[in-house]
Symmetry: C2
Subunit: 191 residues, 2 copies
């Protein structure tokens, strides 16, 4: 029996590879069998970690949400006054975030017909709204507006190549200048 | 051989039923066989109209986009100065629009991995941006912002029951007051 640390590492490895598969080929490409083939583990091993495709997708979605939260936390730790930098961390900017947003799209498709997934989506939406509200505290911004804009930007960036990282950041900065004029501490350009 | 009018009517009937199926059960539920069973036509008849599931989904998406355009055109015909009413016609407000937005979600899922579908999505996005720009002409509004907001509102309304028709309209009105202050001709409440 593997040590707990190995167990967690393998679970993460499997969820990561599943995210890659979904992002590259879509949800239909994801199966326990396919994941087993991609990792070299047996289906028995994979099912030990994820009993069903649904459990696997939920784990992948949560891992994506956790990574988004980690990007936001890192931006806040870097400079909490950098509103553009902190909020840009929610957007599909950079390879990791772009990949993870493709997983979100796949998850949504299921969540439209699955109450448990829809509840999960709502939980993260509330959580993100609270995080944005904390980032904007004192800047008079509207967290609901910014989250709604972030969802819209993600949709556009998914299909329109001219919604580059740079354009997403500029668009966000333009909106922040409108909703919180004079409160942008920096012309942000996070690493 | 059926007359052209019958042909068009049957094609529309099939695409409509397919939209219902996708909205209610998801894209996986859609198949030529299933559609045939639901309509009482043979699969041979259905394949006469839509050779593949892909062709069917494309037709369903276009029908949804056409209905959205028709809602917008009707709002413009009613009162072109009613900015809230004209732009609200893009949103998942009302049963038909909510259903059609669920089809959009299904289409996106495929468009992420299908260049032809992605191009179709871009075409409609450009078209909608131009329509919004025309609606806002003279009001100083930003069509890109409003379209991006509409996409974000649609995502939220898909999962959060408290994004009612009323709340979507209020949210839109609030943003319009911000981007085009003093230009809202009416407190809009379209029928």
């Amino acid at each position: 029996m593997p040590a707990p640390a190995d167990h967690d590492a393998r679970r993460t490895e499997l969820a990561d590879l599943a995210a890659e598969l979904i992002a590259r080929e879509g949800l239909d490409a994801l199966s326990i069998r396919r994941l087993a083939a991609a990792t070299g583990y047996s289906t028995t091993v994979v099912t030990h970690y994820f009993e069903t495709k649904r459990a696997l997708l939920l784990a992948v979605y949560r891992a994506c949400a956790d990574r988004a939260q980690a990007r936001v936390d890192a931006a806040i730790a870097r400079d909490p006054a950098d509103l553009v930098g902190c909020l840009a961390a929610f957007l599909p900017i950079g390879a990791e975030a772009r990949r993870d947003w493709r997983v979100n799209f796949a998850f949504w498709q299921v969540a439209l017909h699955d109450q448990g997934f829809a509840e999960e989506q709502r939980w993260w939406t509330r959580h993100a709204t609270e995080t944005i509200a904390a980032i904007m505290a004192g800047a008079g911004g509207d967290a609901e507006l910014l989250l709604t804009l972030a969802e819209g930007i993600a949709v556009r960036a998914a299909f329109e190549p001219d919604w580059t990282d740079e354009r997403q950041r500029d668009f966000l900065r333009g909106q922040l200048e409108r909703v919180a004029p004079g409160r942008l501490a920096h012309v942000s350009d996070p690493q």
